[in-house]
Subunit: 350 residues, 2 copies
Amino acid sequence: MKKFDINEDPHRRYNPLINEWVLVSPHRSKRPWQGQNETVTSDALPEYDPTCYLCPGNVRANGEVNPAYENAFVFENDFAALKQEEIAFEEDKNQTFFKAQPERGISRVVCFSPKHNLTLPEMPVAAIENIIHTWQKEYTDLGNVDYINHVQIFENKGSVMGCSNPHPHGQIWAQSSLPTEVEKTQNNLKAYFDKHESTLLQDYLQEELKLNERIVIENDHFVALVPFWAIWPYETMIISKRHFGKITDFTEAEVKAFATILKQLTTKYDNLFETSFPYSSGIHQSPTDGELHPEWQFHMHFYPPLLRSATVKKFMVGYEMLGESQRDITPEKSAEILKNLLGSHYKHSL
Amino acid sequence: MKKFDINEDPHRRYNPLINEWVLVSPHRSKRPWQGQNETVTSDALPEYDPTCYLCPGNVRANGEVNPAYENAFVFENDFAALKQEEIAFEEDKNQTFFKAQPERGISRVVCFSPKHNLTLPEMPVAAIENIIHTWQKEYTDLGNVDYINHVQIFENKGSVMGCSNPHPHGQIWAQSSLPTEVEKTQNNLKAYFDKHESTLLQDYLQEELKLNERIVIENDHFVALVPFWAIWPYETMIISKRHFGKITDFTEAEVKAFATILKQLTTKYDNLFETSFPYSSGIHQSPTDGELHPEWQFHMHFYPPLLRSATVKKFMVGYEMLGESQRDITPEKSAEILKNLLGSHYKHSL
Ligand SMILES: O=P(O)(O)O[C@H]1O[C@H](CO)[C@@H](O)[C@H](O)[C@H]1O
Ligand SMILES: O=P(O)(O)O[C@H]1O[C@H](CO)[C@@H](O)[C@H](O)[C@H]1O
């Protein structure tokens, strides 16, 4: 009987953060693609777009005028999925099938730069440090609101990720409940901590550094790697080397190191298919419920959809929706490809 | 304080099948859309396409020639994500972070019709009955393979769902493990059954029929409804009225009734935005592991991506990937819209 070869044979891998599996089919990366192609707009964008509702000085949907901002700029989302209003509600504890509860929250938009055409990989490190300081302030301010227990910082980049405006920006949704994915993660982190008296991601990172098979970038304070259980073709995770739970725990050296690794990782992404690389990214960190949460370790996820080129993405559809996430290229292969890419941005190198 | 109004206020709903929540933001359906539009190919397709690898008589990627089939036609997937080969493997029980196991399986393609341009809503009921009989045979044959414990029948329809060929077809991935989503469902069905000595979906269906707020179609043997916890804008579920676990338990009257409701539901879908409506659908039913599984009840999920028109879909991205699924329009509103749509197909009505 053939012996199991993880680089060749179909297999499942376990994700200990959410207690779910992914189906890996290494041999399948050879299949031809005859399906949908994404459109890429390679048109050079202007530094200022008079029709963009995020550019400085322009008018937003609700009639407000953006200030002439020069660094990161934050405002309340004009079409928020959450509302701040307190709602009276009595839970019916007997309900099994029609369980619903009102949810309070605050939703903000963070413009990363006044420049309409300046995405993270092309920004100076200092400008990214400014974004990190903004995230710190928002995490603190929103987390201090009495009913807010979780602050989700994220970015949707590229029209293929549902982003409606190329102006570099992210969002923050802060709310009273722990969202499903965070609650799953917390439960698994907590169970591990209770059992081992150490942090899951800290122990995982040590093993990854020893193996050195999935590391993409490492600096003094952070590591960017393709997790062993990644579901998206070029999914990565940035993990802090030091054990701390939240962005407000950063030292100034860590702010700089995080800004640097963000720039380097997104530059590699752009270089991969020589395109402005789409993804959804977001930070997972301690809830703001006032508890200590020693089980948490600061990390950031990148979920990019592209598979083979700037126009061919991975579709997470039928089997994936009904059964299990599935990937073709192995995480080790993806990590190797990303690691070997140039550090300078393709648009600016000769 | 304002009293909770489920039709207006942001809230979370609980999905007892997978123990997860969805964030519902009813007020948000008013937001304008400036993002990506999907392309719709409204070109009339021919009944036979000489370049299609699924049409009768044509040659497939591996050199095989399709027979001149007249009904549903099944073949092994030429680019299967699973392989049948047995792989020697010894589990390392101490492994926490790098848990992997080989996975064996069989992957098949089911052509629904020899006609290149005939999708489910436009087929005669008898032709859909033939597809159901084919699914029954496959569930039996694949389920009888000693190492196969789960048979996932599904369809990806439309290029927006990663379907690379408009020729009407579905797939079957049969494998040794329970895929993640099925395992989650099974755990919740089982816990409910052990506690109540009745089936979760049977009890849920009775409540839904009483409330009559989310029912789209009902016939003697099946109900199509928008689940209380639906995440996609026009997500539906078909549930059998009688309690049984698998497609091979159908009486002949149930085969006919299921074919009829499939035709009616997909016709309403096409009529919604007057387009060939994209979705991923799939059947969840008893595993084929030889156990009895009284906790299971046959049902089929439909996950369609479209939100507002033939070209504007819902993006499940940043917040949804990192936090929780989110929807704008309420399930009740969607059910009402679907229910009130005409029963005859827009292309064929005058
Ligand atoms: O097998 P197909 O139709 O080529 O591929 C499609 O369905 C599969 C199963 O849902 C997915 O894994 C693929 O990403 C998708 O493109
Ligand atoms: O808020 P935006 O950018 O308009 O919308 C985008 O991000 C949201 C949060 O991930 C999603 O709910 C929307 O489906 C997506 O289009």
